[in-house]
């Protein structure tokens, strides 16, 4: 039954995808550089939120250190490009792999902790990292931060405008999203979900919790690292003001709002929150108040997240339909 409905959806989805692609190509030509920057930042946050999806949505581990990892990625890029003078691609790779490694090692230490003890450790990690970001002059430029990080460039192509950067980021986002799909279908992805749903059963099926969780943390680190690299290239200025505990909580809010069941949830959550931030601007003094209350209400109305709620509705609809047809047959 569902199979049939899904197959019905297929062409629709295809059309939607095509529209999305064409749309996204023309966006830069129709929007202001302000909106474009908002979109760029939003897509970068999307990468970070995906990292939360891998860790929380797939592997069931909740971390408050994602913004910290994002920062690590950014500062790696800044240092590799400015102090060592390497080209963008190498810096990008360094950020991605470096942050992944960083996360993997920490994961190996932290994931000896079960349940929410890991979450506590991650809060600690975040605090430690933000302390370093603010005060480690040699690497992070202290509170003043690092300015004039070079633009993103490959060979002759230099992404020095908002729109060119837009395409770079969107390409990375698309690639990463596809990789997510692969991960979801892979044995590794399944072992993540096995741990999420029942760690002991997972062990009895030959899944090594410590290693698997650490890998999950490493992957989320890689995502944050990539996001950080892009952020450094995009804004050209890094300071402790960006990589805060609040930012980490924002990522959690985004994924929870969108729904932890699929990357689509990450997309929806990120865009709703990021754009909400900008939409409520006209409220001036009141914007944060409304924003906060908005988060509460959304959470109360959709505790499973928008995707989760949507899925439930869809299934109910399917069941209803099935029931009806069954009755028809029985008559």
């Amino acid at each position: 039954m569902i199979q049939r409905l899904k197959s019905l959806n297929k062409p629709l989805l295809l059309v939607a995808a095509v529209i999305a692609v064409i749309g996204s190509i023309f966006i830069p030509s129709i929007t202001s550089s302000y909106m474009l920057r908002v979109l760029n930042i939003t897509m970068i946050s999307y990468l970070c939120v995906l990292s939360v999806y891998v860790l929380l949505g797939m592997c069931g581990q909740n971390s408050f250190a994602q913004a910290g990892l994002w920062g690590v990625g950014s500062y790696i890029t800044a240092n590799v490009m400015m102090k060592l003078g390497f080209p963008t691609l190498i810096a990008f790779a360094a950020s991605t792999l470096g942050t992944a490694l960083f996360a993997f090692v920490l994961g190996f230490a932290f994931f000896r902790l079960r349940q929410y003890y890991f979450t506590f450790a991650s809060v600690g990690l975040m605090a430690i990292l933000s302390g370093l970001f603010m005060n480690w002059k040699e690497v992070t430029g202290g509170a003043m931060g690092i300015s004039d990080v070079p633009d993103f460039s490959i060979g002759g192509f230099i992404a020095n405008t908002e729109s060119s950067m837009y395409f770079v980021i969107i390409i990375v986002c698309v690639i990463v999203s596809l990789l997510m799909k692969v991960l979801f279908k892979s044995a590794l992805g399944r072992s993540f979900m096995a741990i999420r749903d029942n760690e002991m059963a997972a062990n009895c099926l030959g899944v090594n919790s410590l290693l698997t969780k650490s890998i999950a943390f490493a992957i989320s680190g890689a995502l944050c690292g990539a996001a950080g690299a892009l952020y450094a290239n995009l804004t050209g200025y890094l300071s402790y003001q960006s990589f805060t505990y609040q930012q980490s909580t924002m990522y959690l809010v985004m994924i929870m709002l969108g729904g932890t069941v699929s990357p689509v949830g990450a997309i929806i959550g990120t865009f709703i929150i990021s754009l909400l931030q900008e939409w409520v601007r006209p409220l001036q003094n009141y914007m944060q108040l409304i924003y906060g209350v908005g988060i509460m209400i959304l959470m109360i109305v959709q505790p499973e997240g928008i995707i989760g709620g949507g899925k439930a509705l869809y299934e109910r609809y399917v069941n209803r339909k099935q029931a009806r047809s069954d009755i028809k047959q029985s008559l």
Binding site: M134, M144, Y237, L238, S242, T244, Y286, M287
Partner: protein, 413 residues
């Protein structure tokens, strides 16, 4: 007016917290009501609507990014109040080029992304002639590349030398403030030459501006062959200074140089005096600020501070503004407010000189302004950085900042 607004705000927030418990239908309602309330109680809210189309007769728009909400919102309260005053003042005196001015405020949120988004949103509005950046070197540095891109006259409120460099290399960005370099040097000079002190401790917040000031204190002391006996950094939000004070005591010094923001300054002074440490404190601008004095009370006495502004200033323009501010809002007028007043007046001046609202023309006009008398000090915008001339060294006596020395500095080159 203010009371009403606050009570209304409380009522709203409670109403909405309650509504959060109810279902989504309540959501829409409560949000909409609060929106309208916001618009009603917050004139600037309507001003933020950037969808109006340009028209020669319509008001001249000037952008202002400041931190209205979040952790650094103190700045925003002063800024938006001051913006209202200057807007009314200009408009009641016939406006600029015969047109009213309208100040469009955007919230910089106290983060880099927030600052940039706010700035870009303003810059994207073709009617906006010039933009005042927020009161933080970080924010101003964060937006500097966007300034290059947007090609619109932008005035930075930050005072760090780093910002000065950036401004000098960026034709569109003006730092309308004396760079700390000159001010800190002056305070050191005063402490060493006129107070005849020999050994010092430096205690400072690791936050951008304060860390910078601490560095400048050290550099200035070096010119007298003095190295600080001890440098004690702390992070913003520190509540208990006992370990910091202990280090200062151990060093036993003649005087303390201090650089940080209001709350930390007040806590530091209180705890110093509570331990009967009566050493003279030479502080950054926050130490002479009414907010700090109000919090620290008697503990703030015999504190020296180098600042550009005191509410009881002798400068007639400043005095008038200060009086008006206090009359309208009850609180003493702080530097952040006076700064906005000067920035906007300067921009209006530039527009007058340009005789048009063309962005390029206004920017060029700005660069011609030399010793313009503002509420805080005189301004020399012939080069982009370090435009605010002069400053004050004040001593707090009976909780009143009293000017002990007026400075007029040459431009730092």
């Amino acid at each position: 007016m203010k009371k009403v607004k606050r009570i209304l705000a409380t009522a709203l927030s409670i109403a909405m917290l309650l509504s959060a418990s109810a279902c989504a239908s309540v959501d829409a309602k409560s949000t909409s009501t609060s929106t309208s309330a916001a618009a009603a109680t917050e004139p600037a809210a309507s001003a933020a609507d950037t969808t109006k189309t340009a028209s020669a007769s319509g008001p001249i728009k000037i952008g202002l990014t400041t931190v209205l909400t979040g952790d650094r919102s103190l700045e925003g309260e002063y800024a938006s109040n001051a913006a209202k005053i200057v807007q009314d003042e200009v408009n009641s005196s016939g406006g600029v080029l015969g047109r009213n001015i309208e100040i469009v405020i955007e919230d910089a949120l106290g983060t880099d992304v927030g600052a940039v988004n706010a700035y870009r949103k303003l810059a994207a509005d073709k009617d906006i002639v010039a933009i005042v950046g927020s009161d933080s070197s970080n924010d101003n540095i964060a937006i500097s590349s966007s300034v290059q891109e947007a090609k619109i006259l932008t005035t930075g409120q930050g005072s760090s030398p780093k910002l000065m460099e950036i401004a000098n290399s960026n034709p569109w960005l003006f730092q309308l403030r004396a760079s700390d370099q000159t001010l800190c040097a002056a305070l050191v000079k005063y402490a060493v030459e006129e107070k005849g002190l020999k050994t010092f401790a430096i205690v400072h917040d690791t936050e951008t501006a304060s860390a910078d000031q601490a560095r400048l204190f050290t550099e200035a002391l070096a010119t007298y062959g003095i190295t600080p006996s001890v440098v004690v950094p702390f992070t913003s939000g520190t509540k208990d200074f006992s370990s910091h004070i202990a280090q200062i005591q151990n060093a036993d010094v003649d005087g303390i140089f201090a650089a940080c923001f209001h709350t930390e300054a007040a806590i530091l002074l209180q705890q110093l005096r509570a331990l009967d440490i009566e050493l003279p404190v030479f502080g950054s601008n926050a130490f002479g600020d009414p907010v700090t004095i109000g919090l620290a009370g008697d503990a703030s006495n015999n504190v020296y501070s180098v600042t550009a502004w005191v509410p009881n200033t002798t400068n007639p323009k400043g005095a008038a503004f200060s009086a008006k501010y206090t009359e309208l809002y009850g609180d003493a007028c702080a530097k952040s407010a006076a700064q906005i007043y000067d920035h906007i007046s300067l921009i209006c001046e530039a527009i007058k000189i340009a005789g048009t609202t063309d962005r390029q023309a206004v920017r060029d006009a700005m660069a011609t302004i030399d010793n313009y008398q503002g509420a805080i000090t005189t301004y020399d915008c012939t080069t982009n950085g370090d435009c605010g001339r002069g400053g004050l060294i004040v001593q707090v006596i009976d909780q009143v900042p009293t000017i002990v020395k007026e400075l007029y500095s040459e431009k730092a080159k």
